[in-house]
Amino acid sequence: MVTKISIQNLRKIYDTPERRVHALEGVNLNIEDGEFICLVGLSGCGKTTLLNMLAGFVEITAGTITMDGKPLTQDYDKGVVFQEYALFPWRTARQNVEYGLEIRNVPEEERNRIALEYLRLVRLEDFADFFPHNLSGGMRQRVAVARAMAFDPQILLMDEPFGALDAQTREELQALTVDVWQKTKKTILYVTHNLSEAVYLGNRIVVFVPNPGRIREIVKVDLPRPRDDLAPEFIRLQRHVNDLIRDF
């Protein structure tokens, strides 16, 4: 496999006049092309900080992140799915998905076609002309996934995207996410605090612990897909990750 992203000796310190927070220390991680990586850990362990650095929202204090062997630039193509509903309310589902293509000056007809294609991928082609407030929470996040992928980014960054949804919708979207990932072969980094979700989705689970935020262990998940979250091996893995997070 080809290494897509290489993270070396990454450190992040938030320095504010009031306090100094050591968010990440000595993070080393190689992510292969097409991998599905889950980042888990208690709050304050730095998993979201790492994601935000990859998204370019947060500056690196020390260390390097390279993509395809080159240092990360601000404007490389990444798709981000946020926990909150980040759709633009004044745009229909299709227009939301088109946004990234507009930025890249894709001609209108082409935009239209691609947007519908990605809406079909998340099974929302019938709701293309709906405004977000007329869609359910789950549907909105599906549009958000389509929007983050429509301009064919190099990686997809997801920050607890289904955290605000009810359990059933959440499971549905997890299955959909795996489906989308298998179809598009995108490299995905997925932050969650839900361990069952992590075991269900990831090829590897990166377990973070806080003070300072660092990687405790990287757990490989070799279970065949589609995964059964009640299978003994599944539960054993989930328990293993749970132990890693809590006892250190």
Binding site: A55, G56, F57, D75, D77, K78, G79, V80, F82, E84, Y85, A86, L87, F88, P89, W90, Y99, G100, E102, I103, R104, F130, F131, P132, H133, N134, S136, R147, A148, F151, L157
Partner: protein, 308 residues
């Protein structure tokens, strides 16, 4: 799904009629309070005798006076020359004082409001975008905002004389202040997640401003415009009276005070009220229902649905 529609249920004619009747009565409900007030007025006015009756005219007398005010010049001209052309009819109608007053107010106010909306939006955006202009304008606006704009009238009259320009300056200034404040607040308080989303897709600053900040702050901007219009209305009507100009509804009202012409005042007041109502209906409601209401952004702001 909120959008699914129930299939139409077949109804008997009787039910349909009943529904129509109740819905018509329901729709007319906002008119009832006016009917009640007018009825009380009429009964009270009928008790007035002699000279009192002149000071407290009945509703029918006011309506008759309104008719007279509109048609008087026309009828007088017709008495002199019964063969007026159609165009002359119109011209004579426009000579009636109440219409002249109305037309004068009707162009000055929207004109002043338009100036205020343009300047207020530009200043508000500058404040929202550039820290320098923010620190420059915020103290200024904070001091100016609580001063009733009408209090500037004497100064403006001295500087720019008696005339339309004075009323326009006062009106535009009064409505500029809240509009600038609202646009500034709107631009500053756009949901940061929308901006992050746009940034994550590599939109540059100008694009983010055009495609995210502007539509995202539209609810605030519109509510600022609405407050601005209300302020323009008040200041404009006051300035008309205090600037000593000849034509304008409230100038007319103060004139009518000299002649104890209560009916004229009532008619002019009625037109003023109607004005505000029509501006709300033709200006704000269509814009809102096509934008922020359609996008579900009013609910997000916690605003109440506007009925009536």
């Amino acid at each position: 799904m909120q959008t699914s529609e129930a299939p139409p249920v077949p109804q008997s004619m009787d039910e349909k009629k009943k529904e129509l009747r109740t819905s018509l009565l329901f729709k007319l409900r906002p008119i009832y309070p006016f009917i009640v007030i007018l009825a009380i007025w009429q009964v009270a006015a009928m008790q007035a005798r002699g000279n009192q009756g002149r000071l407290f005219p009945t509703v029918d007398a006011i309506v008759y006076r309104a008719w007279e005010l509109v048609t008087d010049p026309l009828f007088r001209a017709l008495a002199e020359n019964p063969n007026l052309s159609f165009l002359d009819h119109i011209w004579k109608l426009l000579e009636s004082p109440i219409l002249l007053h109305t037309l004068n107010t009707a162009w000055r106010l929207p004109f002043s409001f338009f100036i205020a909306a343009v300047v207020g939006t530009i200043v508000g955006i500058m404040m929202g975008r550039f820290a320098f202009w923010e620190s420059f304008f915020v103290p200024l606006l904070s001091v100016l905002l609580p001063i009733p704009a009408i209090a500037w009238t004497p100064i403006v009259v001295i500087w720019s004389g008696i005339g339309d320009q004075t009323v326009i300056v006062i009106t535009a200034f009064a409505s500029f202040l809240p509009i600038a404040m609202a646009v500034w607040t709107g631009v500053k308080t756009v949901n940061p997640v929308w901006i992050r989303a746009a940034q994550s897709m590599n939109a540059d600053k100008m694009t983010i401003f055009r495609t995210v900040v502007l539509p995202g702050s539209l609810p605030m901007i519109l509510s600022g415009m609405r407050i601005g219009l209300a302020r323009a209305w008040r200041a404009g009507v006051g300035a008309e009276a205090f600037a000593g100009i000849r034509w304008g509804l409230s100038a007319g009202i103060f004139d009518a005070q000299e002649y104890l012409d209560i009916a004229f005042m009532m008619v002019a007041l009625g037109i003023l009220g109607l004005f505000g109502f029509v501006l709300e209906k033709v200006l704000f409601q269509p814009i809102e229902s096509r934008t922020v209401i359609r996008w579900g952004m009013m609910e997000a702001m916690g605003a109440q649905d506007k009925k009536v």
